[in-house]
Amino acid sequence: MSSATAPGAGQAEAESQRRSWSKSRERSASPQRAEYERRGDRKSGSSAEISGNTDEYWLDAQERRSPSPIDRNAGLSSNDQSDRGSHDEDGMDHDGEERISEREESLDNSSTPVPSVETRAKPERLNYKEKFVLRGHLRGVSAVQFSPDCSMIASGGADAAVKVWDTSSGRLIYTFEGHLAGISTIAWSPDGQWIASGSDDKTIRFWNVNTGRAHTKIFEGHHNYVYQIAFAPKGNILVSGSYDEAVFVWDVRRARVMRSLPAHSDPVAGIDVVHDGTLIVSCALDGLVRVWDTHSGQCLKTLVHEDNPPATCVKFSPNGKYILAWTLDGCVRMWNYVESRVIKTFQGHVNKKYSLSGCFGDYGFHSSDADAAKRDPPLAFAVSGSEDGAILCWDIISKSVLQRIEGHTDVVLGVHTGKYNGKRLIVSCGLDKTVRVWEEEEEEEEEREERDDAVEDPKANGISLSAAHDSAPITGQALAPVDVIDNEAIADPDDGDNEMVDIPSEAASTTETTLARAEDVEMT
């Protein structure tokens, strides 16, 4: 697994890789491959020979076997899977060749994205519309996340409760209570069975979504508020960053700290694990972003921006080549961490005080649009909350704001993207105690211009704010009905929502500190 070829040198490297790949392909395809290789080549040559051949066997065999239950970034890898599907239908003979050409194509794309002639124009803006407003939390909601299959949404907030919602209907499924103080962060385990939540009571707790019960073991060890947690892709490791300035790597099975990383000299605010689990990134209010080797626990890289603004959140890009870092100077920066360079700075949101978070998303053609998806460089956006109640989506390449989603009435703290039933979704949460689900609406070609006018109209935005409550259409166009779900009314008999009112006063005071994290720093 080598990574990130430098964009400059990428071309040449890609060339040579492609050449060696196709060479080994040819060799394995030709019948006279029996000639024995000298030892020097053995590592590359002959092992590739075996793997090259067994490949085809393997792909066939794979059909019979059931896939792994952990299907992470399902939306993003679906592209790959559709590729594979087409291989299986192909004859064995040109299977190899075709794959080379495809690889070449994609290698070219990854180094220099050349827009292909036949593709449709790249969409200029996104069109997410409010689908649900989920009410139920009694205080500000600090974290929200889709389950790995996006069928559920988990949210956690200052009321010390984790709530699980159904994505398709917006119903409240569970309320998990047990934390003694406000929750700053939640994470779904990659198999979708567990939700982990990190709280101001210094613990991380696990909740089982299948049984609705809490895990008997509590992850104790941090000396101060748990700020952010993230799962490794296999689900066997959990990483947590805390106000006590340490990063803990937990063995999930034993609920024990495996390793403590001497991470930072200020509270650790953000943490993330790369898609293959080999790297951890952490950031702290001291402004440093550090990249760690999961296996050895060593710091491999430190990123710092000149002005040293407190960093509050970090996220790896879906392919793990870049890091998105939120800082309190109102910028979201995308780093090429191998070269220690900022390559994009996204601005336009307000971020002075709170730990906002966000993530990556894709837009444009759905992967069912196989032809277009293959030719085009994939379109991606970065999304973040803002302290003025908006959600901003930036195009990764142009840095322009693709959509400014209005609706929240207070600071938007957490945003997450997902895809469910072929629809792209965004879920957001904030200090206005709500969780909101936004759904992308497909635009028809002829409607687009009309729509452009509508969105640019400042009044329309203003209306949409209240429109959510009135469940009235924004403009003349037909919209999906906007449901306002009052879950306090639906309230499950088992989990008494009303009991939640009596939060210990002490806890209440600490939750204030979670949400106004940055303030603390300014004070100290």
């Binding site: 990574s3 019948p31 239950p69 993003l76 999930v252 099975r253 790369v274 999961t294 296996h295 900022v342």
Partner: protein, 475 residues
């Protein structure tokens, strides 16, 4: 993803040097990594199989079904199934998704080694104690066993010439003495490589169960055979105290490029300790096949030889006890071995030093003093917003944040379907690892009052009964 950041000197090191970890769950006698190297299966004296997660060094699953010491372990290609063989005359195929038994096969004798077909987890080959080896098809609930011949292929019998009845009788008598000790599949599974008690290597066609080639490598018993990852290098440990590496012909070309009669097994290296006359408990190839590793009889050392020159490059030390099974991680420079007395699993790997320049971004590591030459405009003062704007204007790259690196995919092709053992959160509740504590060499005591099961291991470990059974094959 981490390769571009890791110190290249650390990456360049191919074999481990330090004892870094000790795993313990009962008395382990048998180890095997899965093909991706994420999990390590360990078979215990009491018949329990424990799957360790290599990333966390924790127990990922426990499989209970055997009643006696585990003899061998074999992973399916995707890592979902595990075949275990035991001295209780059984082989069990486990599904690691839920820890259930897919098939249980009973034999008429204890099993030495059972190995799964590389592509078909419902077919395996087993060599039995004082019995004929069998090819077992478990694709249906009714097990089909086919006996594999042990007798070597006689060169002249193929000629069709008249054979002297006296010689024939003598040969038949000799053939009857052959018993197969080791059976493994070739890389594609079309052939079986069998090692006999008389030092012969037989190559047997899987489909027909017919011996197509035989070579006498040595006079001793063939104890263990292993194929390197490339499928062409064969490692043979025999009781004559010599470890041999053998170059195999490409058997998939059989009948295309050459005929059965042209098969020739060519010994490449013989590793032995001429001075101490050490014999070897267990041998294995390194991940790339460049190194050969062996544990020594009556000695706590692990020898590492390099294959290009055939020289000894390292002796791994650490534990105070004799080591049994040794295994090499399929991708990392990491060696695991289990102690015969305590049943501990020892792990050797590389400890990479922290690079200090990684912690402070504005520092770099230099070999010697460098005179700093300041840039012309280095200390020029510009208004902050101007600097900011200029920076923003410079950000004109077109990064692709979604597409996975293709290079990575090439390596991962085989792994893409790799199965991950489900993460069970209540796994270690059943039995704590610190149950047994060592009170002296070879003596263990249970912490607190115990049940009968664990007591049995302790006794077995203490009296060396387990070691005896492992060695009986050699004699």
């Amino acid at each position: 993803m981490n390769l571009s950041l890791v110190d290249p000197f650390v990456l360049a090191q191919d074999y481990p040097d330090t004892l870094t970890e000790k795993l313990r769950s009962g008395h382990a006698t048998c180890l095997r990594f899965n093909h991706t190297g994420d999990y390590l299966a360990s078979g215990r004296v009491d018949g329990t199989v424990v799957i360790f997660d290599i990333e966390t060094n924790g127990v990922a699953r426990k499989l209970q079904g055997h009643t006696r010491q585990i003899q061998s372990l074999s992973w399916s290609r995707d890592g979902r199934y595990l075949l275990t063989s035991s001295q209780d005359w059984k082989c069990i195929l486990w599904d690691l998704r839920d820890g259930s038994r897919v098939r249980t096969v009973r034999f008429e004798a204890p099993v030495y080694i059972a190995e799964l077909h590389p592509f078909n987890h419902l077919l395996f080959v087993a060599s039995l104690f004082e019995d004929q080896p069998v090819l077992v098809d478990i694709s249906t609930s009714k097990t089909v066993k086919r006996i594999i011949p042990s007798a070597p292929l006689r060169a002249h019998s193929a000629n069709g010439n008249e054979i002297d009845p006296a010689t024939a009788a003598k040969q038949a008598a000799q053939d009857a003495k052959h018993s197969t000790c080791v059976t493994i599949f070739t890389a594609f599974g079309n052939h079986i490589i069998a090692g006999t008690s008389k030092g012969w290597i037989n190559i047997i066609e899987t489909e027909t169960c017919k011996t197509i080639h035989s070579t006498r490598l040595c006079n001793g018993v063939v104890i263990l055979a292993r194929l390197a990852k490339n499928g062409r290098d064969l490692l043979i440990n025999s009781s004559d105290r010599v470890i041999r590496t053998v170059l195999m012909p490409d058997l998939s070309q059989l009948g295309v490029a050459f005929e059965c009669s042209a098969i020739k097994l060519q010994v490449e290296h013989k590793f032995q300790d001429v001075v101490n006359r050490l014999s070897w408990n267990h041998v294995t190839f390194s991940s790339t096949g460049e190194f050969v590793t062996a544990t020594t009889f009556m000695n706590p050392d692990i020898y590492v030889w390099e294959r290009s020159h055939g020289s000894l490059v390292k002796i791994l030390e650490g534990p105070k006890e004799e080591l049994g099974v040794v295994e090499w991680h399929p991708s990392r420079p990491m060696v695991v071995a289990c102690g015969l007395e305590s049943g501990c699993i020892y792990i050797w790997s590389i400890i990479s030093p922290q690079k200090w320049s990684a912690l402070a971004p504005d520092f770099g590591e230099v070999e010697e003093n460098v005179e700093y030459v300041e840039r012309e405009d280095e200390f020029d003062v510009h208004p902050a917003d101007q600097v900011h704007q200029r920076r923003l204007d410079l950000e004109d790259e077109e990064p692709d944040v979604v597409t996975l690196d293709r290079v990575e995919d090439i390596i991962d092709v085989n792994q893409s379907g790799a199965f991950g053992v489900p993460v069970l959160l209540d796994i270690s509740d059943s039995e704590s690892e610190e149950d047994i504590i060592a009170v002296g060499p070879g003596t263990m005591r249970r912490r607190g009052s115990g049940d009968g099961d664990t007591d049995r291991d302790i006794k077995a470990g203490a009296t060396g009964a387990t070691r005896g059974s492992g060695r009986s094959r050699r004699r």
